[in-house]
């Protein structure tokens, strides 16, 4: 097993972080954040409930590794960590090696127990403790990411497109958020909520891209992270990007999913060629998705 599964030195390669200005006037939190990103030692935090469930499932033969895999698929941090580990040199197979692009593929390729073991290690090493300052934000991010992944899956299903990669793009769309929160939680705290939000706004995408590059996440995930909420047509993987963005809109409107059809998502709906009856179908599964998120939270 990879002995250093959770603490990863990420090569400094994203221009946004390079260019991030830090001067004497910068706040301590900003200086700390930029410095940590440039140093490249970051972790993806796993929420306590998920970590607990993974450990229980992994230790109980009656529940089986399949349940571990389900938990992995439902937690963005775990999912990304397992992908990164599965793609590490130790699991490199054959002469050319093959990128593992989804948690299911990791399970199929490495075996349930091996993946469960990877996940458990990640969970133990990075579990967020309740005393950490950003747990509420992390919890909100986690719920939103899970719901986005599940909606992305339904959108892809409606369009008879690749379900696996749509789910992953939705789930990992805001991968940079927990990275930034983790760094902020471990160093000098932002002055207030406004500064925390501003730093998140500025650094979430570059931090997510650093992870994508360093962890060899798929090009579709990278394109989705890079696009953020920008409705302009993505240069590559336009379908994946639009699917994830529309899914995020549904995830944000779990209480009133009908509003998405009449909201600001017209560019994504048009780009995905979704007719009203298609949107109705997606709205119809909203309650199920809400229940799933509730169960897992």
């Amino acid at each position: 097993m990879d002995p250093d599964v959770a603490s990863v030195a990420i090569p400094l390669s994203v221009a946004d972080v390079e260019r991030a200005s830090v001067d004497a006037d910068s706040s301590p939190a900003r200086r700390h954040l930029v410095s940590a990103l440039r140093d490249g030692s970051v972790e993806l935090p796993v929420l306590p409930r998920v970590a607990h469930e993974v450990m229980l499932a992994a230790q109980d033969p009656a529940r089986g590794a399949a349940e571990v895999a389900r938990h992995i698929e439902r937690d963005p941090a775990l999912c990304a960590t397992v992908l990164r580990s599965a793609n590490s040199a130790i699991y490199y197979t054959g002469g050319g090696g093959v990128d593992i692009m989804s948690a299911r593929q990791a399970v199929a390729r490495l075996g349930m127990l091996e993946v469960a073991s990877l996940a458990m290690t990640a969970a133990v090493r990075t579990a967020v403790h309740d005393k950490e300052p950003h747990v509420p934000r992390l919890t909100a991010w986690w719920r939103s990411s899970l719901a986005t992944g599940l909606f992305a899956k339904e959108i892809a299903r409606t369009r008879r497109q690749a379900v696996d990669s749509a789910f992953l793009c939705g789930l990992l769309r805001q991968l940079g958020v927990p990275v930034v929160l983790r760094i902020l939680g471990r160093g000098t705290a932002p002055a207030d909520e406004a500064e925390a939000s501003a730093l998140l706004e500025e650094f979430s995408i570059p931090a997510g891209l650093l992870l994508c590059d360093g962890w060899r996440l798929s090009a579709a995930v990278r394109a989705t992270v890079a696009a953020g909420s920008d409705a302009a047509p993505a240069p590559t993987f336009g379908d994946h990007v639009s699917t994830a963005q529309l899914a995020a809109a549904f995830a944000a409107a779990l209480d009133a999913p009908e509003s998405v059809a009449t909201g600001s998502c017209a560019p994504q709906i048009e780009s995905l060629n979704l007719y009203p009856e298609d949107l109705d179908r997606i709205v119809a599964v909203s309650a199920t998705i809400a229940r799933t998120v509730e169960t897992m939270a």
Binding site: A66, A69, R70, T93, G94, G95, G96, G97, V98, D99, M101, S102, R104, Q105, V107, A108, M112, K153, A156, R157, R160, Q161, A162, V163, D164, S165, S218, A266, I269, E270, N273, L274, Y275, P276
Partner: protein
């Protein structure tokens, strides 16, 4: 933009586009309405073109791996399906662009949206954003195509249990796959995935795959498929298909046997796409399977409404749909042409390819009795040896005198191209001797026609020789 046209074609697949082009060439004002943002239909985006592009990629990879082995090079043990699929988008973009250019040149108006008849001479076009526009026309062509049939007892989730649309969205190649169905789509994908190293099992009720072909043709597919590590389970009925939600599916047969595989592909036929068309409003009749009822000219139960392509049912071939589109428009312009359907070739892009035109051996024997079949194995041809593709054969089906060509059947790489020579003879003189008297390039696979024709003539001569007559007496 005008809202009134001479012709409105609903559906921009092969049949619809051909009909639109023919009507526009005849000087009519034509509009094509397509539900998807891009023209081409399932043929271009989810069927014929993608599967053939994949097939080509699989063949190239297979050859590349074989060469690497020869030179002791180590290749990856697995492949990302997305890498194999790499060229697909480019191929589709290029084809869609070319189709679009043709429509522009012909002055055909394109409308994006879902069409629905609102009265006998008008449709309403609804865009995804909800904008509605009424379009009036004198004549209509329904060419809305088909979609994969979803059996009620199999839950296709497009994740573990896929259909022939969602199979193209696979991110990675599974180790194993069960394919339900033994028709063209099932066998084409089966041979592609088997070539890429996936352990493929085809399950079907029929005792042999591609049962509508002559037995020796379907056996040609089966032999090659088995050599690739695939297996065919015939006379089998599926009881249930289930998934563990992660990495395995279990297909249980009524015999009690269970098949475990990473993915299942359901290819149990296609159903016509008529949802929301409002056919009842205009009075167009459909049969019990939902197919629009149409005659050989595409005429439906309503005089000014034609229907072509998959929406009227088999054979669901792009080439056939195009011909139907052309014939429908020609009929409307008063040019009633003889039915050329019997000489439209069938091309099946398995590995190796299968193709036939005219009567099959089975059909010819049923009609004429002791027909003559001339055959040549590709291993006998210089070109077959040069290209290192000696597997396959060509057979000519001739009448009992050996004079008239009735049909052609081919197994082997290039079969879908090679069949056209036979098609031209069938459309022309129909004489077997023409294939002997014609000089072909050498060495080429076309030589197979000459060798098989010589075989026909030799058998005919043997039948008519005095010694044979005496023996018969």
């Amino acid at each position: 933009m005008s809202n009134t046209f001479d012709w409105v074609v609903v559906g921009a697949g092969p049949g619809g586009l051909k009909a639109a082009a023919c009507a526009a060439q005849a000087g009519a004002r034509v509009a094509v309405i397509e539900r998807e943002p891009r023209i081409g239909g399932a043929c271009v985006h989810r069927g014929t073109i993608p599967s053939k592009a994949l097939r080509e990629a699989a063949r190239q990879l297979s050859r590349f791996f074989a060469q690497a082995q020869r030179f002791h090079m180590v290749m990856p043990s697995e492949l990302q399906f997305s890498h194999v699929r790499g060229r697909l988008d480019k191929v589709i973009d290029s084809h869609v662009c070319s189709l679009g250019d043709e429509l522009v040149q012909l002055g055909v108006t394109r409308l994006h949206g879902a069409a629905r008849f609102v009265d006998s001479h008008a449709v309403e076009v609804r865009s995804p954003s909800g904008l509605v526009r009424r379009i009036d026309a004198t004549k209509f062509v329904i060419a809305t195509g088909s979609r994969p049939r979803q059996p009620p007892d199999i839950a296709i989730d497009h994740e573990h249990i896929l259909d022939s649309d969602s199979i193209l969205g696979l991110e990675y190649l599974p180790h194993s796959m069960v394919i339900l169905g033994g028709g063209v789509i099932a066998c084409e994908y089966a041979s592609i995935f088997a070539t890429l190293g996936v352990f493929v099992t085809i399950v079907d009720r029929a005792p042999r795959p591609l049962a509508f072909l002559d037995p020796d043709l379907s056996q040609g597919f089966l032999d090659a498929f088995t050599d690739l590590g695939g297996r065919y389970l015939g006379t089998a009925t599926v009881k249930s298909v289930e998934t563990d939600g992660i990495s395995n599916t279990t297909t249980t047969l009524t015999s009690g046997d269970g098949l475990t595989a990473e993915k299942v592909m359901v290819a149990l036929g296609r159903v016509p796409y008529t949802t929301g068309l409002g056919l009842d409003v205009v009075g167009v009749a459909v049969d019990v399977q939902g197919r629009v009822t149409a005659d050989g000219f595409g005429r439906t139960s309503v005089a000014h409404v034609y229907a072509v392509g998959d929406v009227v049912g088999p054979p669901a071939l792009a080439s056939f749909s195009m011909e139907q589109g052309r014939r429908a428009v020609m009929h409307a312009f008063g040019r009633i042409e003889a039915n050329a359907a019997s000489i439209v070739p069938i091309g099946i892009f398995t590995i190796p390819e299968l193709s036939c035109v005219g009567e099959s051996e089975t059909q010819a024997r049923a009609r004429l009795g002791d027909v003559i079949v001339g055959r040549v194995d590709f291993s006998r041809l210089a070109r077959g040896q040069i290209t290192d593709e000696p597997d396959g054969f060509l057979k000519l089906i001739a009448d009992p005198t050996g004079e008239r060509l009735l049909g052609v059947g081919i197994v082997g790489e290039g079969a879908t191209e090679l069949v056209h020579l036979g098609q031209l003879v069938l459309l022309g003189s129909g004489r077997v001797r023409e294939l002997v008297d014609t000089v072909f390039n050498f060495p080429t696979m076309a030589e197979a026609y000459r060798v098989a024709a010589l075989d026909v003539l030799a058998q005919a001569a043997s039948r008519s020789s005095p010694s044979n007559s005496a023996n018969a007496a």
